[in-house]
């Protein structure tokens, strides 16, 4: 009962802040609502017993990436009106298309979730691990079952970093 109340309260806040992120006029305010949104998502992770993920969510997203967003938003002058395009409904159509795609995706995930309840596989995966503790389990899985995706993701970050340096530097 208590868990359900906490879950729905947190979810309401997450959705509310999510709506505010896209509806606020002032860009800095919408970045701040994004931070609040991330913090409540972290609280949701704590409820699921994933403390490591919750802390990493705050450290990486709320404390790291969004600070850089804020930098960009503060330094770029956003007060001038957006440039006019010959087709005024271009954005509306693009937005509707993207929203429809996300909706289909969400429906697919929910349908899949009903077809295959996640609790059983998670419990099976946990009991099969040789280590206990949240952080240890995440580390173990990353370096055994998911080693290749993990390494590919780190290579991707490295490539992005080198690309940024190449773009930003005038002469190498």
């Amino acid at each position: 009962m208590g868990e359900a109340i906490a879950f729905y309260t947190l979810s309401a806040f997450i959705i509310g802040f999510g709506v505010l992120v896209v509806s606020t006029k002032n860009t800095v305010h919408s970045v701040l609502f994004l931070v609040l949104n991330f913090l409540f998502v972290a609280a949701l992770y704590v409820m699921l017993g994933a403390q490591f993920l919750a802390v990493i969510q705050i450290l990486v997203y709320a404390g790291g990436i969004v600070v850089l967003y804020l930098f960009v938003v503060m330094l770029v002058n956003l007060k001038r009106p957006p440039e006019s395009h010959h087709d005024p409904h271009r954005r509306t159509r693009l937005g509707l298309g993207l929203a429809a795609a996300v909706l289909v995706e969400l429906v697919a995930i929910v349908a899949y979730g009903f077809a295959q309840p996640a609790a059983a596989p998670v419990a099976a995966a946990q009991s099969a691990l040789p280590v206990s503790g949240n952080t240890e389990q995440v580390g173990w899985l990353l370096y055994t079952s998911y080693l290749i995706p993990f390494e590919i993701a780190s290579m991707l970050l490295l490539v992005a970093m080198i690309g940024a340096i190449v773009l930003a530097k005038r002469e190498l």
């Binding site: 802390v55 705050i58 404390g63 503060m74």
Partner: protein
């Protein structure tokens, strides 16, 4: 009931109040020590040797007029000091002041809670504190605070990398992310981690100075260039909150350094039997003593060293401390693997 609600509540109240009183008296200590370093007396008028000066300061700041600039973003301007103060206070939830002791016939742990991701919790909560500074500069709608807050956040983000890398090497040695677990690991290894990880200790200390905006890295408050820094437009209690947050962060850095590198609540050489007479001093007193040592060095450094130039600061952070921290982490990992084989 008592154990699950009343005792934690009481601990939170005690820790919060002790922190706030400690912070106000840190300000007095700083003024006194810097005065002595410059052959002055420091505050002497309020109370004997000026010991009531912090109370007079607090009263003055509270009854001062609180001004919000007309062109400022009101909500963000109000929220910024709170955002920088709250993370500095909630970090104390996981700092262990001592082990389990019996008080009034009841087993009580001298920490509010011990979570298995304690160290990561500290890093993530303090990383949120940056927002207070950035938003204060932006919301003031004034050029010097904006410049100062950009400087401050660039500085904090750069030094956070080096500090976090040193924490990783400490975690490698201790094998635990819990603050209590790290202290126990130092008990088991018979040595404080300051001796096992001297490089990490040094980088952590320098990074701690930079992350709390203290001299010689106090560029966000460089008066000659920025007329006071990111809090130029603030007055009264809101200014006081920024001020308190800085000192609360200093205490946080000192407590974390004590826990990670100086054995937390452990007495010196905790495993040597003939030094048992040192146990007369209780564990929490050892903790406070070691933290005080750090705080004193913070002030001492400020009284001694001139301020860095901004490019020097960035060069030190990115070209010296971060590579050093990475090398230290690699060496720690290699040595650990070799010892295990």
């Amino acid at each position: 009931m008592i154990n699950s609600f009343l005792v934690p509540l009481l601990k939170i109240v005690i820790v919060l109040n002790a922190t706030l009183v400690g912070v106000t008296y840190m300000v007095l200590l700083e003024r006194k020590v810097i005065a002595w370093a410059q052959s002055r007396l420091g505050p002497m008028r309020v109370g004997p040797y000026g010991v009531l000066q912090p109370i007079a300061d607090a009263v003055k700041l509270m009854i001062k007029e609180d001004i919000t600039p007309v062109r400022a973003d009101k909500w963000v301007f109000t929220a910024a000091p709170i955002i920088s103060m709250v993370p500095a206070l909630i970090v104390y939830a996981v700092i262990p002041f001592g082990p389990e002791v019996s008080l009034f016939g009841r087993k009580v742990t001298l920490y509010i809670t011990d979570i298995n991701v304690g160290l990561l919790y500290i890093v993530s909560v303090t990383s949120v504190g940056v927002y207070g500074i950035i938003l204060a500069g932006w919301a003031s709608n004034s050029k010097y605070p904006l410049l100062a807050s950009l400087r401050a956040s660039a500085q904090l983000i750069s030094y956070e990398v080096a500090v976090t890398l040193t924490l990783v090497s400490v975690i490698l040695v201790s094998g635990s992310l819990s603050m209590v677990g790290i202290v126990n690991a130092q008990y088991n290894s018979r040595l404080w981690f300051a001796f096992i990880q001297p490089v990490a200790f040094l980088i952590f200390f320098i990074g701690g100075l930079a992350e709390t905006n203290r001299a010689p890295f106090d560029l966000p408050e460089a008066e000659q260039e920025l007329t006071g820094g990111f809090h130029t437009e603030y007055s009264g209690m809101r200014f006081a909150l920024f001020f308190l947050a800085e000192y609360a962060n200093m205490i946080v850095v000192s407590s974390v350094a004590t826990t990670l590198f100086l054995g937390g609540w452990l007495r010196p050489f905790p495993n040597i039997a003939f030094l048992h007479f040192l146990d007369i001093i209780p564990s929490w007193a050892w903790f406070l003593l070691k933290s005080f040592l750090f705080l004193y060095i913070f002030i001492w450094v400020r009284a001694t060293l001139p301020r860095y130039r901004y490019d020097q600061l960035m060069r030190l952070g990115w070209k010296v401390l971060i590579p050093l921290a990475i090398v230290n982490l690699l060496v720690t990992g290699i040595v650990k693997v070799l010892l295990l084989v």
